[in-house]
């Protein structure tokens, strides 16, 4: 009999690979038009993002942040909430850990300091997500709109706080002071020197753990079941005994906390001070990752690594090929999201036909 649906292996691997190739093909065309050799560029990209251990380690460093923002967007999406506010929540998370560190970093050892800072960043992120969640649950205001607004508000608020209160006297850069070394996330190159001198730190391991917890919570627990039911059908979820408004608020708190935790990798793992606009779009990348990874832990991981690789590889490539500015990779990110996320079934009919032909 002819198959009318693609087997799992085809839809899980063949289609994404074909889509990725299409995106890269369009990207290659653009690179060619810019006057560079696409194949050589790809080689440089892959070399510096994946093959070179230090590059790989940078890739994973960026991915760690993206896993958190991707999880933040994913969990809300599972409940049917489109949280565009991870960017602002991450920004506020940075404020949370900064406040904790500025008051405690000279007094506490790393073992206490780091967990406290993490809790504080999660709490601030959650707090920033609470109001949109509350308004959605109790007042029915669209979380999409309120979180967009909260991003704008966060930007202004953080600017105000940093410029007014956090810049150390006599400094130019609108940023907090550098934290004490106790506040630095332990780096993985301490155990694996091959990783080179990169900021890859235990946040990466925490991110992996978070993915696992997310997978179990959403896929295998009664709570996750209620969460998904809420996302799919409010009426039915209410019938099933889910407290919808509580669910919405709780999910937004978790989502905000995850976004807040994304700040830990950026701030405590790398720069060691709070700077203006440090999330640099990681919250928005989180949306792309959640959508492309279909809110599945493995998918989130793979897309986070892909985006990390693009940032790292693209960066090195633009150093070597001045004709290819870094912005090219923003464009390529968009293409990948378009092909892998929105046109995921572009090749499904063709693949199906091929499979059926082979069967005769």
């Amino acid at each position: 009999m002819k198959t009318t649906e693609l087997p799992r292996w085809a839809s899980a691997f063949v289609l994404p690979v074909l889509n990725l190739l299409s995106a890269l093909l369009v990207a290659a065309l653009v690179i060619h038009l810019l006057g560079e050799d696409p194949l050589e560029s790809l080689k440089i990209l892959v070399d510096s993002a994946i093959i070179n251990p230090e590059g790989l380690s940078y890739t994973l460093f960026y991915a760690s942040t993206f896993i958190f923002t991707g999880l933040s967007v994913s969990i809300a999406m599972k409940a049917g909430l489109f949280n565009i506010g991870s960017e602002g929540q991450m920004y506020l998370g940075g404020l949370g850990l900064t406040i904790a560190l500025l008051t405690l970093d000279s007094r506490l050892p790393a073992l206490l300091l780091i967990p406290i800072a993490m809790v504080s960043s999660a709490a601030f992120g959650a707090l920033w997500a609470f109001l949109p969640g509350y308004l959605q649950a109790r007042r029915g205001s669209h979380v999409v709109v309120t979180t967009i607004m909260f991003n704008f508000i966060a930007a202004s608020l953080m600017n105000f706080i940093i410029v007014k209160y956090l810049i150390p006297a006599g400094e130019q850069n609108p940023a907090s002071r550098v934290f004490s070394s106790a506040a630095e996330m332990p780096r993985l190159n301490a155990w694996l020197p091959a990783l080179g001198d990169t900021p890859l730190n235990i946040s990466f391991l925490i991110a992996i753990a978070a993915l696992a917890v997310y997978g179990v919570m959403v896929g295998r627990s009664a709570w996750g079941y209620k969460l998904r039911a809420t996302g799919l059908n409010h009426n039915a979820a209410h019938y099933a005994g889910v407290s919808i408004s509580r669910m919405i608020i709780v999910v937004m708190l978790i989502s905000g906390a995850l976004a807040g935790l994304a700040a830990v990798n950026s701030v405590m793992g790398s720069t060691h001070y709070l700077s203006l606009n440090f999330p640099a779009g990681a919250g928005f990348v989180g949306i792309a990752i959640a959508l492309m990874g279909r809110q599945h832990p493995v998918g989130i991981f793979l897309s986070a690594v892909l985006f990390g690789a693009l940032i790292q590889g693209g960066f090195d490539l633009s150093l070597e090929k001045p004709n290819i500015p870094q912005e090219t990779f923003i464009f390529i990110q968009g293409l990948i999201i378009l092909f892998c996320g929105a046109m995921e079934n572009l090749y499904a009919p063709a693949v199906l036909k091929t499979l059926n032909l082979r069967k005769g």
Partner: protein
């Protein structure tokens, strides 16, 4: 005479499901042609192919003797085919007028046309006694009125071949009668009508010819006059249907549910329920009869915890239900279920299942916390066992626990819901319209299950607009009208006229 429609070897597959297999039959011009069959027999699919909604994977359709390739509903409409779907195809926030005009606007500017169409609609409504205000917004209309809008649409478009897919599933007896009046007028005008229904009485009453479908194929065809309800039922299900179901003698136990002075005011301070007093005993089925929209749904919602009453008390086994001092009903159904109240909701797709979940996932819907271990994690083995038992005991077809429940036919979805609630062993079961849109074979098995439950000592509150069903199941009948209980009678006193009067709000002093 040339047949109006001829199906030749129509086949249609959805993935592995063969919805239609080699279907061939003809429909005579100017006749009312019944199509019956179990849930999932392929009736709606066949009609959707005729209406251009689906494309057949094989076979041809002839309209008035001409082979036609109908690729869209637009083309079907051009051929004079009209269809009233199982689920209404109305834009809810449009006026009746705009719904009728949609697709037949007659020009880019609506302005002047609107007035002309409105006048024409008023004229049609008068002629066919349709009682619809063309300027009313559809969402404000009752189900019956929405049905009339669908008919109005077809009259306005002067469809020559009219397909009606289960038009009476949601209608009251009176509404059905007036619909049939219109169908007879159509027939007199020479129009051809295809009527799908699960109610054999209606088939006997109005059709000229019947085609019976089973498993996607034509299982038989006959002139209505030459057949009987029993014979048709046998052809449909492949076995005889018992007309009278066995039940233990009426022996009610202690009162399980006691409702006292229940009132409900909605957001706009309109009183939806007034002074409801109701007692249901163990081992008793109380049927709540009435024209839909008279407060039955609200009462069911309150008793299941989905909605808070404005005042009054409800006790289950002598203990007051915990809705006092709550701001909203969020999460309350879980508590009620915990206390032993099962609930088969009236609208299964809206409330009772998650369409995108599998049958297995839906089999624990509402009971998700019961099948989790103390860490809150699911015990998948136990769930699979439970679901396997449900599929077996309630004959869910296809017996595939991993199938998306949205792909099941309505009857089979209903079996999953009822099975789930029954298997939870409730003390009180609230059942809303358990057999709406369900075929007679399945109706029989659902009725059997409910009676078995009653015999086991469960108190059951049944809300149904089908008097046939009420008669088959109830020990006691309570009639509601305008949010009040207008009267009650024992099953021995069953009397259609009296119930009709009570439904109309006539109190017997």
């Amino acid at each position: 005479m040339q047949p109006a429609v001829e199906f030749r070897n129509i086949s249609k597959a959805f993935g592995p499901v063969q919805a239609n297999v080699d279907v061939s039959f003809t429909i005579a011009k100017g006749s009312i042609h019944g199509v019956i069959g179990e849930n999932g027999a392929g009736k709606s699919t066949l009609m959707s192919i005729l209406y251009g909604y689906y494309r057949a994977s094989g076979g041809h359709i002839l309209i008035d003797g001409q082979q036609r390739d109908i690729r869209s509903s637009h083309e079907a409409i051009a051929l004079g085919i009209g269809m009233v779907h199982q689920h209404f195809m109305l834009v809810e926030n449009f006026t009746v007028l705009d719904n009728v005009m949609l697709g037949t606007e007659g020009g880019f500017r609506l302005g002047a046309k609107r007035a002309a169409v409105e006048a024409r609609l008023r004229e049609i409504c008068q002629r066919y006694a349709l009682e619809i205000d063309p300027l009313a917004v559809v969402s404000d209309l009752s189900v019956g009125a929405q049905q009339r809008v669908e008919i109005l649409k077809q009259i306005y478009r002067s469809a020559n071949i009219l397909i009606l897919d289960e038009p009476t599933a949601v209608l009251t007896a009176q509404e059905t009668a007036s619909l049939f009046e219109i169908l007879r007028t159509f027939k007199a005008q020479g129009k051809t009508i295809i009527l799908i229904t699960h109610k054999l009485g209606e088939i006997m009453e109005i059709t000229d010819q019947v085609t019976v479908m089973r498993g996607g194929r034509v299982a038989g065809a006959t002139a209505t006059a030459a057949s009987s309800k029993e014979a048709l039922a046998g052809m449909m299900v492949g076995r005889p249907i018992e007309s009278e179901l066995a039940r233990a003698p009426f022996a009610p136990g202690a009162p399980v549910l006691e409702v006292r002075g229940l009132q409900l005011d909605d957001k706009d301070k309109v009183r939806r329920l007034a002074e409801i007093d109701l007692t249901i005993h163990a081992g008793e089925i109380v049927a709540l009869a009435g024209v839909s929209g008279n407060g039955q749904s609200e009462l069911l919602e309150i008793l299941s915890g989905m909605r808070l009453p404005s005042s009054g008390t409800v006790a289950l086994n002598g203990v007051a239900l915990p809705f006092a001092r709550r701001r909203d009903a969020d999460g309350l159904p879980a508590q009620f279920r915990e206390l032993g109240i099962g609930h088969v909701p009236e609208d299964r797709l809206r409330d009772g299942v998650i369409k995108d979940f599998s049958v297995m996932q839906n089999s624990v819907f509402g009971y998700q916390d019961k099948v989790a271990n103390r860490w809150g994690l699911f015990d998948f083995k136990r769930i699979a066992q439970r679901c396997g038992a449900l599929i077996k005991n309630f004959d869910v077809r296809p017996a595939d626990p991993d199938m998306r429940i949205g792909l099941l036919s309505g009857g089979n979805q209903q079996k999953v819901v009822i099975g789930r609630e029954v298997m939870a062993k409730p003390a009180l079961l609230l059942v809303g319209q358990p057999t709406r849109g369900v075929d007679i074979g399945t109706i029989e098995s659902i009725h059997k299950e409910l009676l078995k439950l009653r015999d086991a000592g469960v108190a059951i509150l049944l809300v149904s607009v089908e008097l046939e069903e009420v008669r088959a199941l109830a020990d006691r009948i309570v009639v509601m009208s305008g949010g009040r209980i207008t009267g009650g009678l024992k099953i021995e006193e069953f009397d259609t006229t009296r119930i009709g009067l009570l439904m109309g709000g006539m109190h017997k002093k």
